[in-house]
Amino acid sequence: MKKVLAMLIIVISACSFIFANGQQEKNEQVTLSFLNYGDVTTPEGQASLQLQEEFEAQNPDIKLVADIQFDESYHQKLAALLASGETPDVFYSWGSGNRLQPVLDANEAIDQKQFINPENFAANAMIGAGPAGELYTVGIGVGIHSAFYANTALLDELGLKPATTYEELVAQVSVIRDAGLEVIAYAGGTDWVQGTCLYSTLLGRYGGPEFVADLYNNKATFTDEPSLRALEMIERMYADEVFNKNTVLADYGTSLSQYLNSEAPYMLDGGWRGGGIEDPALADATLWTVLPSMPGEKYAGTTNGGVTPGYAITASATADPAKLEAAKKLLIFMTGEHANKIRAEIQGVIPSYKVSGEVTFLAGTANQGVLANSVEIITNTLDNFVTGDPITVSNTVIMEIGLGTKTAAEAALEIQTAFENN
């Protein structure tokens, strides 16, 4: 009997101890679930993790239940959380397109401008993709999605100057190829590069920002003249040997290797790629510019880009006032001045925030900001707003133009059909 009583006292005491601790924790901390993004083996992931840890250290009253995922596993995790009702309070988010769709479907996408001071951010970072201009994510950077890199040292050796027009580029083709080099290091074998780094740029050149907007608002078609001219220009670039079959064989890693190893004097890639030019001599010799002016273009010197993904608070998190306050703190921290400076330093991302004072960019990436500031018009990249099959189809048919199995007209029709059926 005594033993039973003693055991009972011990058990009750243990339970009291446990519950008392839980109660104390509940009084002191707000628990916030956070789905972060990044590959921790890369600068991007390291920056995300560093900022997350800094926030935790600075806010002991907030218990962050965080997970960091990357690429497809991130999207699958988010979809699973949304479907199961375990929506994160704050999450890394795309502002539009395919990647935002699951969040919209779950009614968790809300206007983030109510949580921040829009005056602190770059104007184009505050343009919302919602039907009434809702900003579904606070972007953590602005980016150029198509930059034309010229290795001036290699061009000097060949007796050439960086081409500023398409005609100049074509005139250089035979000289470059006779030297055993590719003309442009370009990942033609990777589907998304076609739409992001080439087709969207040419859409802007031939149609301008209004035409690009009209495309995804269903007021223009992909068989209209600007789009057709853009696809015909791609066709011509292959016919003129600016690109060739080797271009279509090059995957995303190969094109950078070609440029870094001086196997091509030019490279066409996103503005983020410049950070991969780590050799100081090559970085110094690289001219950052945009695609040369194209025959018949209407908007000279433009390129395409957009706001990067960022962070957002979900609709579910707004139900609890204490949780919402904590979420706002996290959102402002992850998108604020300090975070932007960290990302510029570690990743080379152009800040979306109007930072004060000096910004130290990752070596070799300051030029992206300089380029962005020098371009008068930056049009939207198509997949900033067009989602699903049309993007997949457009990327594939552009590749087929390079393979010679589709004409520009056939490609335009196929993209438009996919857009209508989406």
């Binding site: 479907a83 479907d105 055993g180 074998g189 990777t190 079959k245 279509v248 064989l249």
Partner: protein
């Protein structure tokens, strides 16, 4: 034996089988049936989505999609390479090793089987890089053909896009079938082969007249394994072919990668279920054909 003892045996059998049966129903049979049902709806597991029965619409969409037919054609190529490439090659290699036609048999046995112990994803990446523009294989080829601009262009045309896949499949899986055949050959009565040799049969005749008929059952089983493996294969195709297995202009699509890119990634799960039902149906048809052919060709069958 009394009735009570038989009842006890029955209870015992049920108890022993029940866990595995339950596991099978929950993990394998149940999801298959669920997937079949899902394929007749529009349900993509989106929050607040209303499930609607849409009949055969998903299947009609699939059969009207040119990419599906590309994937099916490529899958048939893979099946052909597996059944008419890996198995005969494995059988021949096993015979050569079994009959001591080469020296250092243990070494060759290990080398042929070695690809089996390497991850198929690693093999896919290796092959892609080896034969890529900046790969070692391309560099060697440039020296051999004396053309510094030479590149392997098989991915550029639909007609040759599956060639590197076929090479990789032969390299990886031939060793497995070789080992299976070798193990069965070693169980054979060697007296039969010696008697045949004494009667003047050469190795060629022994192989075709004695060994192949003796291995008929094993060939059939291996064919079934090869067919089912070919139709569900994903990882190596994903790693080897450009654009995560799609190839250039979708030239390398097979049904599993078609399902991944056009159903799984855009989260169209009902569509994906329909594709998986088609894959299972094709597998069953092929296996039935294999069984039929095997029975017809089996010399031991009852006439």
């Amino acid at each position: 034996m009394g009735i009570g003892r038989r009842k006890g045996d029955l209870s015992f059998y049920i108890i022993m089988v029940a866990p595995a049966l339950l596991f099978f129903i929950i993990i394998i049979a149940g999801p298959i049936v669920f997937s079949l049902g899902l394929s007749f709806t529009n349900y993509d597991f989106k929050p607040n989505q209303i499930i609607e029965f849409i009949g055969l619409d998903q299947y009609i969409r699939i059969f009207q999609d040119n990419k599906f037919w590309v994937g099916l054609q490529n899958n048939l190529i893979v099946v052909a390479v597996s059944v008419f490439g890996q198995i005969p090659l494995g059988l021949i290699l096993a015979y050569l090793l079994f009959r001591g036609q080469v020296r250092f048999t243990a070494f060759f046995q290990a080398m042929v089987f070695l690809p089996q112990v390497i991850s198929t994803v690693v093999v896919g990446i290796l092959f892609r890089n080896f034969f890529g523009i900046r790969g070692a294989g391309t560099a060697i080829a440039r020296v051999l053909v004396e053309d510094p601009k030479f590149n392997f262009t098989w991915f550029l045309q639909r007609e040759t896009a599956m060639v590197p896949i076929a090479i990789a499949l032969l390299w990886i899986y031939t060793g497995y079938f070789m080992l299976v055949f070798l193990a069965n050959m070693q169980k054979m009565d060697k007296g039969v082969l010696e008697a045949a040799s004494i009667d003047g049969a050469n190795e060629f005749m022994i192989f075709f007249r004695i060994m192949v008929p003796a291995m008929a059952g094993v060939i059939l089983v291996n064919a079934i394994l090869a067919i089912s493996g070919s139709l569900k294969g994903f990882d190596m195709f994903f790693a080897l072919a450009p654009n995560d297995g799609q190839g250039l202009g979708n030239a390398n699509l097979v049904l599993p990668t078609y399902m991944y890119h056009y159903a799984f990634r855009p989260q169209k799960y009902a569509f994906g279920s329909a594709i998986s039902v088609i894959i299972v149906t094709i597998s069953i048809v092929f296996i039935m054909i294999s069984n039929y052919v095997g029975k017809k060709l089996n010399p031991m069958r009852e006439r």
